[in-house]
Amino acid sequence: MAIEIGNRLGLANVKSDYIHAAGRKLEDIHDELLELEAKGEVKVIHVKDENKPIEAETLFGWKKKIPTNKLWHHKSCGQCGNIPGYPVSLLWFMNKFGIEYIDERNQTSCTAWNYHGSGTSNPVGLAAVAVRNWHRAYELGLFPLFHCATTFGDYKEMRNLLVEHKELRDEVRRIMHKIGRELVIPEYIVHYSEWVHVMRFEIAKLKKYDLSNVIATIHPACHTYKMIPEDCIYDKEIYAGKRTAVSTGIALALGAQVADYSTWYDCCGFGFRHILTEREASRSFVMDRKIRPMVREAQSDVCITQDTGCTTTLDKNQWIGKAMGYTEQVPVMADVMFAALACGADVYKIVQLQWHTTDWRPLCEKIGIDWKKSEDEYDAYLEELKAGGKTVNLYEYPAGK
């Protein structure tokens, strides 16, 4: 069945070929990728049984297998600078579930933040960096899991361009041979929040606190659902399939109230370059278009994000708003951090909220979390480390690394 629709705003139930009014057919790139593999053009990093995949549906009802085990962590430049609790909370859950993974030094940035901020790269450079990192996961026999929304969006785009353009494949293959690697493409590009989403009912079993009086507002990252919109998880049980289900799904599974607000679709104001060098645009957008509607319309207790740039932008820009008479404030954290809090993870050592600027203590108090105890223990821990103590890690490098 073919169906005509006007845009890609969200039709989760269309399980069919998709023919756009402009005459363009959107193909599921996954099938084309497998055809290229059959012709020997590319190698594919498959989602195997050992990855314990859970199936989800994307915008047009296409299936997407989300691997939940044997994963290679592809970290985000932004999250580790400002929001270390984001990867730590993810590893904390993975350890709880006995998931096998590697978190190592042999990874580069996807370089897409830079590209979208400054234009100082090109599709060959971006695609080659993507394949370089994909290949690293491949040679370890693991499936790559991308932490950052911009990495996710960029890698989805690079995967599509590589599948659709032989010249790009040839050029990237040439570069890969120069660095001793091969042209490999993952069967699916998977964002950490998709892992959280498909694991949400397992995560909810670990819940320690009642969240029924917590009002959450969701800010999905633009680059997860606006870049290659067809490759993003939708669920007809969540927003009737009209908006991406990711992040809302985990908040609901944990029993929080998810409230709508009028500017849900707006970006956070990050702007890639603007957040660093034209910050007045970013902060105006943060206060006018996100924080104020979240608080005034939804009385939000917490803003849930799924990315680094958004978390930084929405969290760090609230303080200056006071100078302009904006009194609205709401703590900001990634979905996995909120989930970790709900499941009893330490506020300081695991969720690492101490790095965040907007006050999150009222949220903890509303949930019933004793953040002060956590703070005291953390301060004592820092003193131990200063005196030469060893960090209690969630993960250790494999021997010899």
């Binding site: 402009a22 970290k75 042999n106 940035s109 450079g125 902060r283």
Partner: protein, 225 residues
């Protein structure tokens, strides 16, 4: 470049034509520029449209006009207003990608070392250095109160005892202060080879020659380590 008596550059029509042809030759162009209804849906969802004299509808209309003069008018600060959020691409009924067009035009601006690109990117050079030389983008020690005073007094938290606070993060990759994570030299070296082969270093040289020199010194050090 020639200049008139007011110091405004006189740009020959041939150059403007070249710019348009260069954009049109990009293999993504056909994907990004389709029919345009001039409906303005994209502008309605575009964040910088609220703040600046900038509209993704105008971007598409000018591209569709195929008029090098009109396209040239976007090659200065105009293209740098875009947030690259791709709201336009998601909501355009014709599946255009004004944000994608902007990316192509920006690439041309930096490749050709346009003054406007140099000016816009000057304050961005710290990030460019970190990314190109170390394979990361932002690092904990860059979050300093003097650089981010508008982020409030709590920003100081990250600058006191930073090393020990990073050491307390229970992931060995993150226990550094000068990078977002501890990037292995072999990964950096591969990135340099990619940048060489894909012409990325060349682009940086054209937009910021002195930064390029600094980056090359670091690259040489890492390569010889």
């Amino acid at each position: 470049m020639e200049y008139d008596e007011n110091g405004v550059s006189i740009v020959p029509f041939e150059l403007k034509k070249e710019i348009f042809e260069e954009a049109r030759r990009d293999f993504r162009y056909e994907e990004y520029v389709r029919g345009c209804l001039n409906c303005g849906v994209c502008a309605g969802g575009c964040p910088p449209h609220r703040f600046f004299d900038f509209s993704p509808r105008i971007v598409l209309q000018k591209m569709k006009s195929k008029d090098p003069e009109l396209i040239w008018t976007m090659m200065d600060e105009y293209v740098w207003a875009c947030f690259q959020c791709f709201t336009c691409a998601m909501i355009c009924p014709f599946l255009n990608s004004p944000g994608g067009v902007i990316a192509i035009l920006r690439e041309i601006a930096v490749r050709r070392g346009f003054e406007s690109a140099k000016k816009v990117l000057k304050p961005y050079s710290r990030v460019l250095l970190k990314l190109t030389a170390y394979g990361n983008q932002l690092s904990p020690d860059m979050i300093q109160p003097d650089f981010f005073p508008d982020w409030g007094p709590h920003i100081g938290y990250a600058s006191t005892d930073l090393a020990v606070k990073r050491k307390a993060i229970p992931m060995p990759t993150l226990q550094v202060t000068n990078l977002a994570w501890d990037v292995a030299p072999e990964a950096m070296k591969e990135l340099y080879d990619i940048f060489d082969e894909a012409g990325v270093f060349k682009i940086i040289e054209s937009v910021d020659p002195s930064l390029y020199e600094i980056i090359q010194d670091i690259v040489d050090d890492v390569r010889s380590s």
